[in-house]
């Protein structure tokens, strides 16, 4: 087990290093630079700026300098937001995305799992058709339609929530709901599929032949196997859920992390791009590892080997 963990750790560090390297060089290949604005910067000012961020040095030197500071835990200042450190930008924005993502996850699981389980148990009844139609709508509706629809209903018509912004305690509700409903739709469909597959297995017939009541068949005999597809989907999705969505943050005007993934690229903010990408890669690696552990815990065959 220790060897396995060490191996996975080394693998994780390797993945992050590769992502770091590719990102570092790829963004330098794109046309433009952090200081290209609408007005051309005077050449003297530009030289000073480039010197300050070390952009005048050969690319390979910059690469190793940057890698060195990352290894020391220094994620460098932003090149666009003058005087701001990337760590501070992330520290301000990440908790907001994390809060909304967590609430969305609770909503998604709270609605998606029961809907999927009921649809599977009551296969080909109006309940199944009802839940699965809703799920299909949830999957087909883009975020930028679902969000405004919720805003119009709860924000404009009933006036229970603010239409946008991050000021009041209840401002997390609509963004979380938008994100949660869409994930709920995916989870419901995956749960139904997984449960149906397990419920058709021979060992479910064995359980019925033993007189196991229906509720216990679902909860004890079928659920573990039936939830595997959901776990496999959610693990990697978790990183994306918690780091925020650009679209949702734009719709609801939230100061979350999702916006930085996109705007830093438009700004050619080399250092902020790198910081956010490395953060996402790290989260992905961690959630993937946790997924593997969970799958192993769920599946006795994997656990032993």
């Amino acid at each position: 087990m220790l060897r396995f963990t060490l191996y996975r750790l080394a693998q994780a560090l390797g993945v992050i290093l590769v992502v770091f390297t590719i990102t570092f060089f790829l963004i330098r290949l794109t046309p433009g630079d952090p200081f290209a604005g609408e007005k051309a910067m005077p050449p003297d000012v530009r030289r000073v700026m480039e010197e300050r961020y070390g952009l005048n040095k050969p690319l390979i030197t910059q690469y190793f300098t940057t890698l060195g500071s990352y290894l020391r835990g220094d994620f460098q200042p932003s090149m666009k937001y003058q005087g701001m450190w990337n760590v501070k930008i992330i520290k301000d924005a990440f908790p907001i995305s994390l809060a909304i993502g967590s609430c969305a996850l609770v909503i998604a699981l709270g609605l998606g799992l029961p809907a999927g389980i009921i649809a599977a148990v009551k296969k080909n009844t109006w309940m199944d058709y009802g839940f699965m139609s809703l799920a299909l709508i949830g999957i087909c509706l883009p975020t930028f339609v679902m969000g405004p629809m919720l805003i119009m209903t709860f924000g404009l018509k009933w006036r229970v929530f603010n239409v946008a912004g991050w000021f009041e305690k209840t401002d997390w509700v609509l963004p979380s709901l938008t994100m949660g409903l869409i994930y709920a739709a995916y989870i419901a469909r995956l749960t139904r599929g997984g449960m149906l597959e397990v419920l058709n297995q021979d060992f479910i017939r064995t359980a019925r032949a033993k007189g196991v009541p229906g509720s216990r068949i679902v909860m004890v005999h079928a659920l573990r196997g039936g939830l595997l597809p959901v776990v496999a989907f959610l693990g990697p999705a978790l990183a994306g859920i918690t780091t925020g969505s650009f679209i949702i943050e734009k719709i609801f005007n939230l100061p979350g992390l999702g916006q930085h993934f996109v705007s830093s690229v438009f700004n050619r903010d080399y250092s902020l791009i790198l910081a956010t990408v490395v953060l996402l890669a790290t989260l992905l690696v961690v959630t993937n590892f946790l997924t593997d552990v969970l799958v192993a815990w769920l599946n006795p065959k994997v656990r032993l080997s």
Binding site: T206, A207, V212, H221, P300, K301
Partner: protein, 327 residues
């Protein structure tokens, strides 16, 4: 001798897109205490459906019980609600299945599964139930049961898993065991061991057994009484010695000719010509007619189903002039 189960005129059908499949069409048989009643027939003849319907395990829809009765003690199994059946399943009637590799839950420890009937039906605590489960595993010949009980099904071989199934089925000391082709998926040597085990336990516990198989050779080893099933109906029913001494129906005879061990060495293996009929589209007369030789085909009933008649005391066969061989 007391009758444990008395099935009369059982009819089960499946309403599918391709029409009504009459999987079981008027089957009657009795199971006596301490005896083994066999149901034998080619695959698709309705053996499994017959037994599943007794325990309410036929998926409905598409399945439907069209008629008949199944007296078990003083209740009719076919009339019970799902709740009432749950109380009988696994406590008074147990079942084991064909494929031991898929019949145990891969996610649950063997102990959890073997102890489950006790927890459900006798309300035992976990530790008491597991203690009894260890004994049950020992009883079916699983070595080192204290350790094995904590393992998962994939750590057991096929034969051992079938032993686990048997332990699980008998742990509540049921009055009736239904075994649906319990040895079909096993190697020949393991088959023999599992058959011996079922026979020994049955003798010792005095339970009644319904033994389903497509293999007449197995029937001769374990059964006291045999029902030969063809296309959802019984074509012959008789005590086992009588059946092997004097098979009366052409289908039974064909089955016997196709037992490999009874064929002469070097001769090509005999197989019954043709295919079992489509149960959604049964001929109105004798169902075996299309597989008979031409001269016998001419004699078979075409206008009505041949009825079962008692050809000698306790020995019944379908009275079709083309298929029934009288003395």
């Amino acid at each position: 001798m007391s009758t444990v189960l008395d099935v009369q005129d059982l009819k089960v059908s499946f309403h599918t897109r391709n029409g009504v499949v009459r999987a079981v069409d008027g089957v009657s048989f009795k199971v006596e205490k301490g005896k083994t009643t066999g149901i034998v027939g080619e695959s698709g003849s309705g053996k499994s459906v017959t037994c599943y319907s007794l325990l309410g395990l036929v998926p409905m829809p598409p399945g439907r019980i069209e008629g008949g009765s199944a007296k078990f003690g003083d209740v009719d199994l076919l009339k019970l609600s799902e709740k009432e059946l749950q109380r009988i399943r696994g406590s008074r009637i147990s079942m084991i299945f064909q494929d031991p590799m898929t019949s145990l839950n891969p996610w649950l420890r063997v102990g959890t599964q073997v102890a489950e009937p006790l927890r459900l039906h006798e309300g035992l605590s976990k530790s008491e139930a597991w203690k009894r489960a260890v004994e049950a595993l020992r009883e079916v010949g699983i070595p080192d049961p204290e350790k094995r009980i904590h393992q998962y099904p994939h750590e057991f071989s096929g034969g051992m898993r079938q032993r686990v199934m048997i332990a699980m089925a008998l742990i509540t000391r049921p009055e009736l065991l239904i075994a649906d082709e319990p040895t079909t998926a096993l190697d020949v040597t393991i088959q023999k061991q599992v058959l011996d085990l079922i026979r020994d336990l049955q003798k010792r516990l005095g339970i009644a057994v319904v033994f389903i198989t497509h293999d007449l050779a197995v029937v001769s080893e374990v059964c006291d009484y045999v029902n030969v099933m063809y296309a959802g109906r019984l074509v012959e029913a008789s005590p086992v010695q009588e059946l092997f001494a004097r098979p009366r129906h052409a289908y039974t005879q064909a089955l016997m000719r196709s037992i490999p061990a009874l064929q002469r060495k070097g001769e090509p293996l005999y197989t019954i010509p043709g295919l079992p009929p489509d149960l959604a589209n049964l001929p109105s007369g004798c169902a075996f007619r299309p597989r008979q030789t031409p001269e016998r085909q001419a004699l078979c009933l075409t206008d009505r189903q041949p009825p079962l008649v008692e050809v000698s005391p306790g020995h019944w066969a379908q009275d079709c002039p083309g298929c029934l061989i009288r003395d």
